[in-house]
Amino acid sequence: MVLANGFLLGLASGGACLAYCAPVLVPYLLGEDRTMRGSALLVGSFLGGRLVGYLAFATMAWMTQVALVQDLPHRTIVTGVITVGLALLLIAYGFAGPMRDCRTSCASVAVRRFQMPRPRLTPVLLGLLTGASLCPPFLLAFGSAAQLPQLWQSLLFFIAFFLGTSVYLLPLPFVGLAGRHDAIRTVGRLAAGVVGLFYLYSGIMSVIAGIQ
């Protein structure tokens, strides 16, 4: 029952999940030069990170018994901080990436020196931060999982929810194939940076709203 509920909730709200994840994942996939298999691996890493985020919150949901969901100021601060983290990662990926081999004066030394420390972890981190950023479907799942009496049930619920929402993300590796063209790769990376700027604003506003 727990599994079915989680999966069905995931399927029902997966469209909204796609709407939240696509602005992060699509630019990232376009920004990478990957084969179909490579793109599928990236989406897999992203989904893996998202699952870890979900499970972390499942544990928290069970431990706090919806307290975090109901505590609006703290919830907005947590959301804000996670969104700022996601934004910084996207900005670093988007704007530092295309500038790595910039030979003109436009890129400052600081920007040119900036390198992504562990690029292989980037999709996992993106997935983790996206998964933990409390989107509306996620809050629904959070509320339901918090009502369950056992921790393992809460975890199982989130795993099923994750599987339900992931169905909508499965076609995304095909998007990654476009990243084999230089121009599209540059566009993808810059787009990730632009998305990052928007999330940075949203995150900061959430933190301010939470503090006020």
Partner: protein
């Protein structure tokens, strides 16, 4: 010494003859098929707009220079648009700010910048995600879509240099100063408009709201913006003003390029794809080209680079403004009709492009110029800009 431009000049009788169609068509367009008004405050703007547009077309034909005279009309058209639009807003609602209630009632004028972000949701959900009216006047969604479609078929991305009432503003600012103070712009930034397009298309589809209008449009500064009633609308207003100051004023002055059009505008990026459908393009004759790089230096929208020159074409983002054609010292660059041999009958190809393109600009521009001259006369005679 005979320069490239001297060889392009036409004889006076021929230039007059070639101007005749525009002379007649514009007479029809500026009057709108109605009797000529007799009150000076209506008649003077009409005469000014008519003489000005027809005169500029004559100069384009006579001198063989496209960009120089197009640019004059294009910049004045943009300024006239602002001069007409703002007083109209004050007449309608007493402010440049639009309230949330008016937005919900669908009173927001539609502009072409929204088209890329409404296209995907419209295809997916048959819903136009914009709080405007469908068929009410010039700024309605329907009329703007028809205008855009017509211009896209005729001009491709030429829309951005011959029709867009915003492009003239950064073109105007890019003409201030003699030399660029900032030359080395990393070419990768020329892909930013496509990135912004991707983001606003994704975000607009995800949220079913026009995200570019809400967050990124620099031209809200000189047209219409959401009433500042909260921290969010305040931030939006700050973003609009900063983008306008940066992309439309400061950067064009520093670089002498159209930075909003070439480095940011998602509508321009979207419009670039229509260059593939359009029958006109700009070609470089490899036999005449001496690789001086002048076209690359002067192109306002960064649409020429070493690769494109080597291929004898412009980049996809070319707005067909004619600047490179005017500036090329060897006359190696010309308008071209796709499917004909490159460099074949360049004068005819230019005329075939310039007629519809100029007509488009002149029809849209003359209306705005009439409006602006009317406002100036109104100010001079009554001391007020609004009726």
């Amino acid at each position: 010494m005979v320069t490239n431009h001297d060889t392009r000049t036409r004889s006076l009788p021929k230039a007059i003859l070639l101007t005749l169609p525009i002379l007649l068509l514009m007479a029809l367009m500026v009057t709108g098929g109605q009797p000529v008004p007799t009150e000076p405050i209506r008649l003077i703007p009409l005469i000014v707009a008519y003489v000005f547009t027809v005169g500029l077309f004559f100069l384009i034909v006579y001198t063989g220079r496209t960009h120089r005279y197009r640019s004059v009309l294009f910049v004045i058209y943009a300024v006239a648009f602002v001069m007409t639009f703002i007083p109209n807003l004050f007449e309608l609602r007493g402010s440049m700010a639009i309230s949330e209630t008016e937005m919900i009632q669908g009173h927001t004028p539609f502009c072409h910048m929204v088209i890329p972000m409404t296209a995907i949701p419209a295809a997916l959900s048959r819903t136009i995600i914009f709080p405007g009216s469908m068929l009410e006047g010039f700024a309605a969604i329907g009329s703007m879509l028809v205008l855009w479609l017509g211009a896209s078929i005729t001009l491709g991305r030429g829309w951005c240099s011959w029709a867009c009432f915003y492009g003239g503003l950064d073109e105007g600012f890019s003409k201030i100063g003699r030399k660029p103070l900032w030359k080395n712009i990393d070419r990768r930034w020329t892909y930013l408009p496509f990135a912004v397009l991707l983001v606003v298309a994704l975000a607009s589809t995800a949220t079913l709201s026009p995200q570019y209008c809400a967050w990124l449009c620099p031209f809200k500064t000189v047209t219409e913006y959401a009433e500042v009633t909260s921290a969010t609308t305040l931030v939006q207003a700050v973003v609009f003003v900063s983008l306008f100051a940066g992309l439309v004023v400061v950067l064009p002055i520093l670089t002498k390029r159209r930075t909003q059009c070439g480095l940011f505008c998602p509508m321009g990026a979207f419009q670039s794809f229509t260059n593939k459908l359009n029958i006109f393009d700009v070609r470089i004759d490899p036999d005449k080209c001496v690789r001086c790089g002048k076209c690359e230096k002067v192109c306002p929208t960064f649409s020429m680079d070493e690769g494109s020159i080597r291929r004898g074409k412009t980049r996809l983002t070319c707005t067909k403004c004619g600047r490179c054609i005017d500036e090329c010292p060897k006359g190696a660059i010309s308008y071209h009709v796709k499917g004909t041999p490159a460099g074949a009958r360049p004068r005819l190809a230019r005329l075939l492009f310039v007629y519809p393109a100029f007509l488009f600009l002149a029809i849209m521009g003359s209306g705005m110029i009439q409006g602006a001259v009317y406002r100036v006369l109104l100010l001079a005679t009554t001391g007020r800009l609004v009726e």
